[in-house]
């Protein structure tokens, strides 16, 4: 559970090497199905366990649009509501199956001209579910 952040990090307050607060996402069947439907993704492997198994998967698994959502949330939870996301780039790996937990971690790798780049990964018991980077604008000046 995350509290809504109402203040926003200032560009000057961020340094290359800063770690983002980690985020643990419980991967439940409900989370997977809610994500699939909220992203209008009706591929059966994201909601129908029997069909997912018939297709060679061990269970239903999270769709890429939902993962993209968690990546955006992970960064904006840290940065605050006035941060403007500019790019989200992700690569998928090990699936998020029900019963697992995705642990998201990230760090600032670059800052320039008001823009900050974060590299991140979300790992579960099978390995990295997602690796990626997010670029965002932070307000100038000090809070």
């Amino acid at each position: 559970m995350s509290a809504a952040r109402t203040t926003t990090l200032r560009f000057d307050a961020v340094s290359v090497g800063d770690e983002l607060p980690s985020l643990e996402v419980p991967i439940t069947a409900t989370a997977i199905v809610a994500g699939a439907l909220a992203t209008r993704d009706f591929q059966d492997v994201h909601h129908d366990r029997d069909l997912a198994i018939a297709r060679g998967s061990k269970d239903i698994f999270m769709n890429i649009l939902t993962t993209n959502g968690y990546v955006g949330r992970f960064v904006s939870d840290w940065a605050g509501p006035d941060a403007m996301l500019h790019k989200i780039e992700i690569r998928l790996g090990a699936p998020n199956y029900p019963g697992d937990t995705m642990r998201m971690s990230g760090r600032v790798v670059e800052k320039r001209d008001g823009r900050v780049r974060v590299e991140l990964e979300g790992s579960n018991s099978l390995g990295n579910h997602v690796v990626g980077s997010v670029e965002l604008w932070l307000p100038e000046g000090r809070a």
Binding site: A4, L37, R40, I88, A94
Partner: protein, 329 residues
């Protein structure tokens, strides 16, 4: 058989670079109900998405949609309405061609979104998709398949581009992977770890270089005439002497040139994969990976510093990172 696969590859190649079909119009404009639904699912509490009062006083001046919802707006949904198509359905042709050749399974591997502006309730999107490339047949941990890379351009009701996306899928033959029993995504994920890096061919001429790395030193071959050379070789290209020893490089240098490899993505390397030709301050040049820098931030002449990485147990390679980061924790 070779002719067949060449003909097949040629048919695939014909489809690359073409629009996938008609632009896809969003079924609903950007709206608060779908945003709230999405925020519930992701447990995203950012108030600029759902709290009109807060959003009005934010940098946005009103409610906005989460940027990561971009693709949601033009998803076709459970029962897409039939629409007469003006353009050839290239996407359909491509999928039928791949399905017909046995590449029936699909897994999304990459998604890269770039936003020009935040979307607001009322924005009415359409997306135009181009099949950017179709890879030759690749043997992945998941199975034999083709990567299909698509580029999407999202436009609003005024025709202005609001975002772009690169989306890559792998169409593969089920059951042909090393991890066929596991799930598709597990195999993709497992591949970088399961596959070892290619090893150098160690010879009497270059053994010093690799042994030096294992001891934490970047060594340069030095001829008896005093000239340095790299890559290692038996004879001096200037005086032809076979006598040489080595000098320990400072590790400092500058990017002389570079490439960023995207395709083919060969395990266990990570992509995009920036590879630089670094001119060391001693004068020789060396090819190595660049780390700690965004591919689009690499510049000619950028000062870099060598670090020696043990990429696999007992296997050390030099790589370079921007010198300005030296000394950071």
């Amino acid at each position: 058989m070779a002719d067949d696969s060449e003909a097949f590859q040629a048919r695939l190649a014909e489809l690359a670079g073409k629009p996938s079909g008609d632009p896809e119009r969003a079924r609903d404009p950007v709206n608060p109900a779908m945003i709230r639904h999405w925020c519930d699912a992701i447990d995203d509490r950012n108030p600029v998405y759902t709290d009109p009062e807060f959003a009005a006083h934010s940098v946005h001046g009103g409610l906005v949609a989460p940027p990561a919802m971009l693709q949601v707006w033009t998803m076709r949904g459970l029962r897409p309405p039939a629409r007469p198509q003006q353009r050839p359905d290239v996407q359909g042709q491509l999928m039928r061609l791949l399905d017909g050749a046995g590449f029936t399974s699909v897994v999304a591997t990459d998604c890269q979104q770039e936003y020009r502006r935040y979307l607001r309730p009322g924005d009415d999107l359409s997306v135009e998709t181009t099949i950017e490339s179709i890879s030759p047949e690749k043997r992945t941990a998941l199975g034999v398949g083709h990567f299909v890379t698509q580029r999407m351009s999202y436009r609003d009701q005024r025709g202005e581009e609001v975002a772009t996306m690169l989306f890559r899928i792998l169409k593969f033959k089920p059951g042909t992977g090393r991890a066929a029993a596991a799930s598709p995504e597990a195999a993709v994920a497992a591949s970088p770890r399961a596959v070892r890096r290619p090893r150098p061919a160690i010879t009497r001429d270059n053994a010093f270089f690799w042994e030096g790395l294992a001891e934490g030193k970047l060594l340069i071959q030095r001829c008896r005439c005093g000239r340095l050379r790299h890559p290692p070789g038996p004879a001096c290209p200037h005086c032809h002497s076979l006598h040489w020893d080595t000098e320990v490089a400072s590790g400092r240098g500058r990017v002389y040139s570079w490439v960023v490899a995207h395709h083919p993505a060969i395990p266990p390397f990570e992509y995009p994969n920036p590879i630089a030709l670094v001119e060391l301050e001693e004068g020789t040049r060396i090819v190595a990976n660049l780390v700690g820098v965004a591919p689009d931030a690499i510049r000619e002449g950028m000062p870099v510093v060598c670090e020696i990485a043990e990429v696999e147990p007992g296997f050390h390679v030099p790589r370079f990172r921007p010198a300005r980061e030296q000394g950071r924790p």
